[in-house]
Point group: C2
Chain length 311, copies 2
């Protein structure tokens, strides 16, 4: 029986049992780990604990596969021994993150922050606000989260424009080189890119300067995709609005100017962390464990220990 470590005490029950040939133990990431650390072959890294969840890895002498529950994995790969396969949680957070993007778009356009402040003051203050209907939404970073954003825009009577690093004409996805033409057409720009060399600082003063007067920038990607100083200049002048689930720096220090910038709504990096996470995480784990038990190719392989990765 090959051993897997799962990070939730009720994991086997949630999985509806384990495939034949596997047995499981629980390690939640806090407290002492099981004595079986030398036998574990597949390790599911406990969620949202950072490096603390990787402390037992050097003792995992039988380790073959590490499965994260995050889409990002740059902090995990350096901790892996040579030859260990690394799989990420691509897709698991799409629903939750895309849904938060819609929440931020609608709240910003329709004025929910203003309603909350008026409510706290006991003030009934009717406002005429922009609607999402009839707007053009530009999704920058058309991967699985970007697709999930578009899926949620389906019923809202909007036009959607799509940009990815490389054009994919069959899906009507533009390449990044079309941004100068597309940005002036968009009322709402939603960032759903990964953070990499091509996207770090992508949203700089030039990018922002091409956005329409009054347009809304929504970031559910990673903070450093946006040049914070350049965005602050556009917010302070009142020319653009923003809704940011991720920031640079992150977390924002208490005295940061983004907290009080006009037309700026900040949420504390909660895109992936909602009730939508666990059911989708367990769907991935169930499929992955079946493949592991059967010796079939694994899902979401993004590299292995001591190599530069394939993704």
């Amino acid at each position: 029986m090959r051993l897997v470590w799962l990070p939730y005490p009720d994991a086997v029950e949630r999985l509806g049992g384990l495939p034949p040939g596997l047995r499981a133990e629980t390690w939640t990431g806090s407290g002492p780990w099981p004595d079986s650390v030398g036998d574990v072959e597949l390790f599911v890294v406990p969620y949202l604990l950072g490096p603390a969840a990787l402390v037992p890895v050097p003792q995992m002498r039988s380790l073959r596969v590490v499965q994260t529950l995050t889409a990002g994995y740059d902090d995990v790969r350096p901790a892996l021994p040579a030859g260990v396969t690394l799989c990420n949680a691509r897709g698991v957070h799409d629903a939750s993150t895309a849904e938060l993007a819609l929440a931020l778009v609608l709240a910003s356009l329709r004025g929910v922050p203003e309603f909350v402040r008026a409510q706290d003051a006991g003030r009934w203050a009717h406002l005429h606000r922009p609607a999402l209907a009839d707007k053009t939404v530009l999704v920058v970073g058309y991967g699985s989260v970007g697709r999930a954003v578009e899926q949620r825009l389906t019923g809202f009577e909007v036009d959607v424009l799509r940009v990815a690093g490389r054009a994919r004409p069959d899906e009507e996805v533009h390449g990044a080189s079309d941004l100068p033409v597309l940005l002036p057409r968009a009322d709402v720009v939603v960032l759903t890119t990964p953070l990499d060399a091509g996207t770090r600082g992508l949203v700089d003063a030039t990018f922002l300067g091409r956005m329409k007067d009054g347009a809304l920038l929504v970031n559910v990607a990673r903070g450093p995709v946006v040049d914070t100083a350049a965005l602050l200049a556009e917010l302070t002048s009142g020319r653009l609005r923003a809704a940011l689930d991720v920031t640079d720096p992150e977390p924002l220090p208490p005295d940061h100017a983004l907290w009080s910038a006009p037309g700026c709504l900040v949420s504390p990096h909660v895109g992936g962390d909602s009730s939508a996470f666990l059911p989708r995480a367990f769907r991935l784990l169930a499929a992955q464990l079946r493949r592991f038990a059967d010796g079939r190719p694994l899902l979401n392989v993004v590299g292995s220990g001591a190599d530069p990765g394939v993704a």
Copy 2:
């Protein structure tokens, strides 16, 4: 040339011209009205001005049709002379109102009010929140706004249940008598009913008592559909949450308990008033004026002066 009064100075331009046989003058509802008051045959009532917009009606000796820009018209009919046809703006506010319902659902579930308050305190406070994904949404009042709500739920990975006054099995719409069975299944209940004898006070202590622990009630219909005291009891106990665009009383006085009830988000009756309104209002007016010019049956006829109405 038959005369119509339109409430916007740029109305003819927005309409793309008038049908043959019609001419138009502007009265916005404030200031003196045109000398042609005795000649106007079709009067489009200025929006959101209440009874003030009806003051010239007794002088409209040639009046045949009154077109409102609201869905509600109970305040208009008593002011009409016998034989004048009354048409409402059914459908014009659907997109805006349904969109606000989604904004309130997503903001409430994902925690936007909490984010705003944390933001104003310069506090980065990560919260695990419910998502809309995987939830069951019950739409109570499955008319044109209810349908528009469901259209906007399309991409969110939810189950939708539908209730109207009468069952329509061909559309999978339940009758109100099924509410006792449906309410315990719903995580989110969205009210989109008209206000009439059958819906006034519909959401009373019994209705609310059948809702799931932790469920969210969203009202974009009319305030008196909900028994405010019964709702306050459920909010104060923390058992239910609410997001209310309409209230009873409305507007809420500054010291009303709903402003500070736990888990309650209040918006100031802005469902219909957004940038989505005017384009849809002008689409209705263009179609209506063509029908009026051609002598064809009008759209959205809801009654006539000095009769009890047909709607």
